[in-house]
Symmetry: C2
Subunit: 370 residues, 2 copies
């Protein structure tokens, strides 16, 4: 297989250096609007700005909300349909919902409702009955799995904005933090805590631009077989794990995480998402899903790039008191999600150390806040 | 000016006959997920399904949420920028927020937070500093005008999904219904109530596909002058009125609307949005903004089509006890928004009668619920 140069995100068409200035500008402007809530006797949880979901205190009730998009994974489904005969929009629906709920639960919230945003390149997108049924059925199934109500949505046909034959999928989620002690912001995270990784199912929906770019380099494209004998394209479409049942089961068992990080863009650099100055030492590696190992190998990227941009088997990180880590692993296993007591939080400079790979990411490798 | 055939929505590329089956399928599937809320001791306000925003009862607190998109109005801004030298993304931002908040307030809610969804056709969209600044500034200004907190957002670069150089803009809004009596669902609307229209500023963000199609027929396109001497393209870009200050001022004055309808797609047919069997008799026409009269004339559409698909000067309808109608008009005027005590609700078959135009829309002309 020919490999001119290693693939990376910029080569794959996503140039964060162009997006980040907007993000910072928007984050600063957004922070300036917080004062508007005083007119309603509502306060914001200021520490939630810069976190994965926004939290407001409405008369003592903590309301969390988030809007997240699928990204470009639907393009993979569109391409693989010709090979597999399946639309894969049932799993694409789960991916989209996972993007929202897996973020929402990081602030200690229980998701309650989902709104769908399905923005198509033209009315005819909705005329494909099989794909339409798969999308609706998959969306409903994912809502049921997370015990959320599908409250509504928007299904515009935006020819000229969205590409013909394509769809821009996103989800908004509203939830509540049922007990204030679950809010994992501030100083509950501390040295000595354990880091439990919950298994990913594959690429989830981050790194997909890279994966798509790679398919163009492969002689058989998405039909290429990976190490477990499956088709590359189908393996890419394994749906994102919904982690809501795990956090809900933890609460039911009386376990309150000190922090949670959804491992999405920026890969394991997200392990140091919390604003505190702490060191995160990973001593145990989860199994990397075959499709991610395949991507790393064939895109020609090193461990530093792979673990810094893909989940590499760890889809979600839960930080808990050390003595609760094994119980978190057991609860996750009981729900069919593999988990590992994978590391420890230590006093020290902000960094992620991946000991088995001798990798280190420093604070300068992750910029998420204005 | 040549006019081959009258323009209509289908000719303009939006074929609701293709979208509506999906909407019905999705609405039925969504309704099936309501039972999931029981696990959280949360109930839904079932009557809010099919309304413009979804409402949940969380321990007595009514939480409303909505996701809405701008549609294709940004394409007008992109085209007019070359003529006017302005990006117009400050007003496009207001339009997007208006789509969400003007829907949210129809269920009696006070908007609290907004999430931005800005999905671009590539990273380079965000590198245009003037447009980026206008978008951020306009978004912040509209949030301030509605006294909402801009809680966060998503700014993906989705080459291959969103057209190169374009952006898909949407907003999610979360609010609360501060007093249960404000929930205008059920049987508060009744014969004898008055219908107060609040003025629109122009096309708002509905009917834009038609307006864009029309520009292709005009010899000078968006640069064509309309009756008030302004450029057609610039007049189209007048930002959607934010009606939040009006409903908030009504509550402050002790006036509780019996129902509200945001006049968007389907034009004045939306006046009969409430599920009840009632007749809506309009006796007074608001002034149609020049840009809408221009569209009607040059697209060659009759009054039935114009009032059935465009707002024709009435951007929002408030249904109140007859004796409060003049006070609603006065309050709206005091906020700089023209208003008319324009009609009455009567016992009778579900229909909208526009007396000055001898027009009637029946129940069969509006299908919004599964």
């Amino acid at each position: 297989m020919s490999q001119q140069t290693p693939l990376d995100y910029t080569a794959a068409g996503v140039d964060y250096s162009k997006i980040d200035p907007l993000k910072l500008l928007a984050q600063r402007a957004a922070a300036g609007t917080a004062a508007n809530l005083a007119a309603h006797d509502v306060g914001e949880i200021a520490a939630s700005r810069g976190e994965s979901a926004y939290v407001m205190d409405v008369g003592g009730l903590l309301i969390a909300c988030i809007t997240e998009c699928l990204g470009t994974k639907a393009l993979v489904a569109d391409a693989v349909r010709a090979l597999s005969g399946r639309t894969h929009y049932d799993t694409i629906a789960q991916d989209t919902i996972a993007m929202a709920v897996n973020d929402l639960i990081t602030v200690g919230a229980t998701p309650l409702s989902i709104h769908a945003y399905w923005s198509a390149g033209g009315s005819e997108w909705f005329a494909d009955a099989q794909r339409m049924n798969d999308l609706v059925r998959g969306w409903q199934t994912a809502c049921d799995a997370c015990k959320v109500s599908w409250g509504g949505g928007e299904t515009p046909a935006l020819a000229g904005v969205v590409e013909a034959g394509r769809i821009d999928l996103a989800a908004s989620c509203v939830g509540i933090v049922k007990e204030r002690s679950r809010l994992p912001l501030g100083d509950t995270l501390k040295a000595g805590d354990a880091i439990v990784f919950l298994a990913s199912s594959g690429i989830h929906a981050n790194g997909v631009s890279l994966a798509r770019k790679l398919s163009e380099r492969l002689p058989d494209g998405y039909a290429t077989r990976i190490s477990d004998g499956r088709m590359y394209g189908e393996a890419l479409l394994d749906p994102t794990v919904l982690y809501v049942p795990v956090t809900e089961a933890l609460y039911a068992a009386g376990i309150t995480p000190h922090y949670c990080a959804n491992i999405t863009g920026h890969g394991w650099r997200k392990v140091m998402r919390h604003p505190a100055e702490l060191t995160y030492r990973i001593h145990t590696l989860p199994d990397a899903p075959p499709v991610l190992s395949f991507i790393q190998e064939h895109a020609g990227i090193d461990d530093r790039e792979a673990y810094g941009s893909l989940n590499m088997g760890a889809g979600f990180a839960i930080f808990v008191a050390a003595e609760q880590a094994d119980e978190v692993v057991r609860i996750s296993h009981s729900l069919g999600i593999k988990a590992w007591n994978a590391g420890v939080v230590e006093a020290g400079p902000k960094r992620v150390l991946i000991e088995p790979l001798k990798l280190e990411y420093g604070a300068d490798d992750l910029h998420l806040r204005a």
